[in-house]
Subunit: 451 residues, 2 copies
């Protein structure tokens, strides 16, 4: 028994839910096919007791993320500022320090070195056309090298290279050698600037959502209803016959006139297509790995660091977590430290047992915040690397020679098959805001096609 | 109704068939689960009339490929030398020339430049331990850069860089910026040297098999029998429960005590695993794209180039095919030119219709061999980029930061799940010989484990 709708949507994250919303509003019938038993994709809440939550996936909103903020506003979900009052902690070369403002207290030669490299990066980023990065004048040159190779050439100090690596880890959950220089430039431009991607106040980590970011997906799905959003419906095959497209799923067969695949290219590539996809689309999906991150949250009875004049943000060059935020609920109770384990550390600790991982993370929190950090009341982790229906987080990484060789295949439809998801958004690519934009774009295109 | 055997083998290419042969010989029961309706994987024959064939996939044997030659010998399949008599053709910068021996007649400064770069590459390759490339002293440095970045640094002329690109295309079906320098060094060492990989006589293209390379797989499968080798049995899921491993396939369910997955990492990653694979294995499969090649064969009533003193081998820097061989049957009738379309050209022409592709390839053959090449009696092509059960050819490409971050996950078993396939072979990785070696290794390991 095959169920039918005008449009099938693969994936019940923000891209898919947004596309469904817009198509329904335009009078189309829609079915959203979601593999997991929940909506939200890479955003998910974790209950921590007393009705409080922490976010285990994407969580922040920042200036310029207009579509995300508009959607949350529509749904009546409020934002509150990420805790950003007090000094930041830095742990480099075995020494701990703290600083206010945005300029860390480190060797001024290293500061000047990283400043020059970043200024150069920001200037180059502006030259990458967001709709078609492969058309940048120097696209070939930038796409033929890793960000690491570029950094080696344009920095003088190991300290500056370490800071660039920390930036890559924080923004991409990857190391500089995982990334094409062209991808780094595109991604920075897509979010405004590299600085904006790493900033808290004024940047991509500025605000949080009361009740957690996952509320956005949950409430949007609630409005669509369970007739529209089908959970446990992992799509294994998509076949096109005549003017019909059919999806085989774990929850039965569905057909429609069009299908919008919102899964990241990696996972879209794991669906079996009949007829086969065009060569460039197939090979693109082979070259779209996901980032490496384990998101950890340590819960304390109170945010003890605040009383010590610290904002809870920390960074360092050691093992465990190298990027930490205060992730306490709006009322500051309980105190929560969000500890990212990213890039090489996610790979290394991903091979260890959970106890070893937890110890490594808490050891790093102790380095930043002292012995009180050693004994949280609660501890939660999510290793996105082993999540079957994400493949990793935060998003897709393009290594060398992908944008220039396969860029157009990211969004070019294959017959009635359309592609969405944050990876396809020129603006805020990789972010929740980009996911929403991509869903809106795909819905408009499909609606127009259906006439 | 689940069918059982001691060992399940995923994939009926040379790796899987070899593993099955060895396990059966050791007294184990085995089932080979092959997705296609034929065995052979990346080797396949094409009938061209009168009982003659051409090879549309892997086809050559060379010195040092002892396991391949031994298997063919066991099966009574003879070899014959690749036609290598006469001058080679070169078409560079709009000019055609021909030459004997191995040194092309080009600008001596370019020759000296490419000679220095290649000598350096060969020396570095020897320093890469084949069992663990990530342990090379300079592994971090080599794996942080593309082959392209290295070539830019270590050549003085655009001509030398073009020749390195042609080498990369011929050996990897990829461009220098697709490849980690560490991967290029490993791969060269794995086959002996880069020179050996590109040579005909004395190298990896020295000999062919009478009746075509696919005979090896077909005859080996014939010996195993249809009870053992199941066609049309694409594996969609592998689950481990207790001491049993179960495979869901298009031809029903199978279980065993162990399973050997011989599909390349990309395709192994498209199987759904329960429980999830270890993080590093999962993420490795995301970073293992396949090469880009369209293999084309133009059939003429006779090998007209031979009468003109040409061996049928050609290379050039233009559109269409940049690497051509005489691929006529042993008796020289009919005449066949094998035209590889590789790397960027495979990407570009893969987006065109078959007629445009054919014209582009024949145009290039005319550049090399004159107007007679324009009108073949027969023409065959196989675009491996759209082959669902290969994903591309010749093999897996590692870009930067894969070997050093994920190398051990290439072969480390995940419980009862073992990995084989040519990509897992330290010796002749990427070649038919490596596939056989990997099957032998996996069979021995599994047999020992079963006690």
């Amino acid at each position: 028994m095959t169920q039918s709708a005008d449009v099938l949507v693969v994936g019940g994250g923000l891209a898919g839910l947004t596309a469904a919303r817009d198509l329904l509003a335009a009078g189309r019938s829609v079915l959203v096919l979601e593999a997991r038993d929940r909506v939200g994709g890479r955003i998910v809440n974790q209950q921590i007791g007393d009705g409080k939550i922490v976010e285990m996936g994407g969580q922040w909103a920042g200036p310029g993320q207009d579509r995300l903020l508009a959607l949350a506003g529509d749904l009546g979900i409020a934002t509150f500022p990420t805790y950003d009052t007090g000094q930041k902690v830095l742990h480099f070369n075995g020494r701990r320090g703290s600083y206010g403002g945005t300029i860390p207290r480190i060797n001024p030669l290293v500061l000047a070195d990283i400043g020059r490299a970043q200024a150069r990066l920001e200037a180059l980023a502006k030259k990458v056309p967001l709709d078609a990065p492969w058309t940048a004048d120097r696209a070939e040159e930038w796409d033929a090298q890793t960000f690491q190779a570029w950094a080696r050439k344009h920095t003088a100090s190991a300290g500056a290279r370490m800071l660039l690596a920390l930036g890559a880890e924080a923004v991409f959950a990857a190391e500089p050698a995982d990334l094409s220089m062209l991808h780094v430039l595109f991604y920075s431009h897509s979010g405004g600037s590299f600085q904006r991607l790493i900033d808290t106040t004024g940047g991509a980590q500025q605000d949080r959502f009361v009740g957690g970011s996952a509320l956005i997906a949950e409430q949007l799905a609630g409005r669509l209803g369970t007739d529209v959003v089908r959970l446990g419906a992992a799509v294994s095959a998509i076949s096109v016959t005549g003017d019909k497209v059919t999806a085989d799923t774990a929850a039965g067969q569905f057909d429609g006139k069009r299908i919008i695949v919102t899964a990241p290219p990696l996972l879209a590539g794991r669906i079996s297509y009949s007829p086969a996809l065009p060569a460039d689309r197939e090979q693109l999906t082979q070259r779209a790995p996901m980032g490496s991150v384990i998101k950890c949250q340590a819960v304390y009875s109170e945010p003890f660091w605040r009383a010590e004049g610290l904002c809870g943000q920390a960074t360092g060059d050691g093992e465990g977590s190298r990027v930490v935020f205060d992730n306490s609920p709006p009322d500051g109770s309980p105190g929560v430290l969000l500890a990212f384990v990213e890039g090489d550390e996610a790979r290394r600790l991903g091979r260890q047992d959970p106890r070893t991982r937890r110890l490594a993370v808490l050891d790093s929190l102790v380095r930043y915040f002292g012995p009180k950090a050693a004994s949280p009341d609660g501890y939660y982790e999510l290793d996105w690397q082993t999540e079957r229906w994400s493949g990793g987080c935060y998003g897709t990484l393009f290594g060398p020679n992908v944008w220039t060789r396969y860029g157009p295949a990211l969004t070019r439809p294959a017959g009635p098959i359309h592609w969405a998801g944050t990876e396809t958004s020129p603006v805020w690519c990789g972010y929740m805001d980009g996911a929403i934009r991509s869903g809106e774009r795909a819905a408009a295109t499909v609606h127009a096609e259906l006439g």
